[in-house]
Amino acid sequence: MNTHQFEVVVVGAGGAGLMAGLYASRTAKTAVISKLYPTRSHTGAAQGGIGAALGNYEEDHPEWHTYDTVKGSDYLGDQDAIEFMCEEAVPAIYELEHMGLPFDRTPEGRISQRPFGGHTNNVTGKPVRRACHAADRTGHMIVQTLYQQCLKNEVRFYDEFQVLDLLTVDGKTAGVVAVELATGELHTFHAKAVIIATGGHGRVWEITSNAYAYTGDGTAVVYRRGIPLEDMEFFQFHPTGIYKLGILITEGVRGEGGVLLNGKGERFMEKYAPTVKDLASRDVISRAIYLEIREGRGVNGSNYLYLDVRPEVVNKYAAIDGRTNPDGSAYVVTGEQILAKLPDIVDFCRVYLGVDPVTQPMPIQPTAHYTMGGIPTNKYGEVVIDDKNTVFPGLYSAGEVACVSVHGANRLGTNSLLDLVVFGKYAGLRAAEFARGADYVPLPADPTAFAREQFEGLRNGSGKENVFDIGNEMKKVMFDDVGVFRIEAGMKNALDKVNELQERFKQVKVQDTGKIFNTELLNAWEMSNLLDMAEVTAASALNRTESRGGHAREDYPERDDQNWLKHTLIWKEDGKLKIGYKPVVMTRFEPKKRVY
């Protein structure tokens, strides 16, 4: 029997998991398990920046950051949690710097900041420089720095261990089951507290910026154990993915002055967001791109547009906008500066498109990007399982997998990195504190039974169906029908299709009968997770008869605060989906029309 005992077990080693592990391990015996080597985590793919009102270039306040986030969330974010995050942002950034994170610097040697979508000076409504950045690899520097600090503090890692099940007994957390990739052995981690930090599930969609690893493992595992998921209809489509490939082109490109142009060469965002234009919220811009394409203004009649950061174009529109440097001089960039500020973007375009962004515009289309919904938690990372926010003892969650909710119906750029640093820390602290006052819940008699049962199913199917075909059909229908724009018939079609695919999935048979690195078996299991995520996403979306943030319905084009200013909760009970609701926490900001 491979049984381990730790007071706190963290599942996932991206930004949230590492932060949780770092803090929990200070006072509790802690292990971090991850299916990837920690530095491979998808946090490392985050590019443009992490938001905090440091005010290093110009006036800014956590209150402004709070309001922008509430507005960005289309008023679905919980305002107590948002205020907490935006206040905590400032010390969190300084803490990362003290850990050695190599932020870019201002001429005075302070942390450099750039504008980002939806972040504004609340008095003028103009974009404010709030995104703290390390070139266009801010997430890479965060995951590296946190992993390094974990090594320094001798945090115990189980690298390449994939979670398969959450163990609960009488409504209390008892641990997790994981498979060791190198041996195929199942391991039981007996724990007082478990922190789920496994990231999102953007591989549900055809065009995606998300890693292969983003298969919703943690979400699926807790969902199968009867924990509800919150606001799953809200998924972010980032406006600027590389055409066809979906690879992300950071909003930082527009922060540095890049503009979106349609097939006629028009800067169309002036029409949709007259004040902040290309720096509107992501949901607003993704919809604008779809509308331009639908009206025949794609490039060469095709379904893509241009993101243009050529210096002459940046300088032209900066002059029109009257954009200035912090010292008041006119904003002018050179090709060398573009390359220095956005080296990875330039590299991606050269490699995958054969396009040099310094001399050519980049073909882009919206790409599936971020899971706003997820495992419901409060602002301390405690998992809450009903409309009264009842805490599930010993269970915590943080980062993209969790729904606090600070992002509501639409996340602002830079707030994902902030989310995982702030809530990863508090989940770690709370879990360790809980462990101090709690005993181990005895393990169930056969802890690996459910994990084994799921694997058996994948090994013993008829073999009539192919996992990849099922996956491709799911991705296509979800991108077409539960994407940027949605309508009842489409969402019904998607839900039916996903249910059909779930049935067909039972006919899958994994060829690889071995134990060592049986990636075929694990990929098939991941597909079962994605199918569950697709199902709850389509069902939650179909249920919400309004448009809000990332959930844009053509049959219900307006926000409906009367009926829908509430979070969705979704469970599976006896094989059937059950939907419930819980109120949004409002403190200072009354909902009003959202205009950029």
Binding site: L36, Y37, T39, R40, S41, H42, G44, A45, P91, I93, Y94, E97, H98, M99, G100, P102, F103, D104, R105, T106, P107, E108, G109, R110, I111, A134, A135, R137, H140, M141, Q144, T145, Q148, Q149, L151, K152, A182, A211, Y212, A213, L245, I247, D347, F348, V351, Y352, N466, V467, F468, V510, Q511, D512, G514, K515, I516, F517, N518, T519, E520, N523
Partner: protein, 235 residues
């Protein structure tokens, strides 16, 4: 176009010895070699095993030998290799299964150079950031790009021929901290690098620099470390 894809195969639970399998795969010139591996796994042989995650060159999972040189499979496009492509595991680390190698010795070397920021002095009284000029920041910018993919280390003849050479990736990460004006433990790290397993094993073959998918000037960085050891100066 059809690509003839020859892949190194080894299943420790079945095979006495490694061998190659050849697959003819339909591909677009802009496909990534990783896409071809995914196709083989989907429709030819589900047992084919390799690591991958981000698929756009930032997570460092899929370093492989492609036509005898190290690349990330997700940054290697078919059009740059033509119709015959051979894929093998990176060299110098034990093959576990197919294209998957044992990464533990690689990470063990990384851990030896104290790969974490060390500054035990009090933080500024206002609790804000430590000051670092843009020039000081630029001094180690290149080596902050490392994604620990091991493409450099496993292209290095000195690493292949040695049981204990730290290898270029560990040196790159040592450089990242040694030349960070805020860090206080350059001398400890230089001491580690001065041992026989350290920088003296670098014979400037430039394989690492050629292999690096992040275009880090690794040989330059190692040269700066050698210079720092000789002169005791960090500027």
């Amino acid at each position: 176009m059809d690509v003839t894809l020859k892949i190194f195969r080894y299943n420790p639970e079945k095979d006495q010895k490694w061998h190659y399998e050849t697959y003819v795969i339909e591909a677009e010139p802009t496909d990534r070699v990783l896409d071809l591996l995914e196709k083989v796994k989907a429709y030819n042989d589900g047992t084919l095993s390799f690591r991958r995650s981000c698929a756009h060159g930032v997570c460092g999972s899929d370093a492989m030998r492609i036509n005898s040189r190290n690349y990330l499979a997700c940054k290697a496009l078919v059009k740059d290799f033509g119709e015959k492509i051979t894929v093998e595991p990176i060299m110098g680390l034990k093959v576990i299964k197919d294209l998957i190698v044992d990464m533990e010795p690689f990470f063990d070397n990384y851990k030896k150079i104290l790969p974490f920021f060390i500054n035990e002095s009090p933080v500024p009284e206002d609790g804000k950031e430590r000051i670092q000029s843009p020039e000081q920041r630029a001094r180690f910018d290149d080596t902050t790009k490392c994604i620990l993919c091991a493409a450099c280390t496993t292209s290095c003849p000195s690493f292949w021929g040695s049981d204990d050479y730290l290898g270029p990736a560990a040196l790159v990460n040592a450089h990242r901290f040694i030349f960070d004006s805020r860090d206080e433990s350059a001398s400890e790290r230089l001491h580690v690098l001065s041992e026989t397993s350290g920088v003296t094993r670098c014979h400037t073959t430039f394989n690492c620099t050629v292999a690096c998918p992040r275009e880090i000037q690794i040989t330059v960085a190692i040269g700066e470390l050698k210079m720092a050891m000789v002169t005791g100066k960090l500027d």
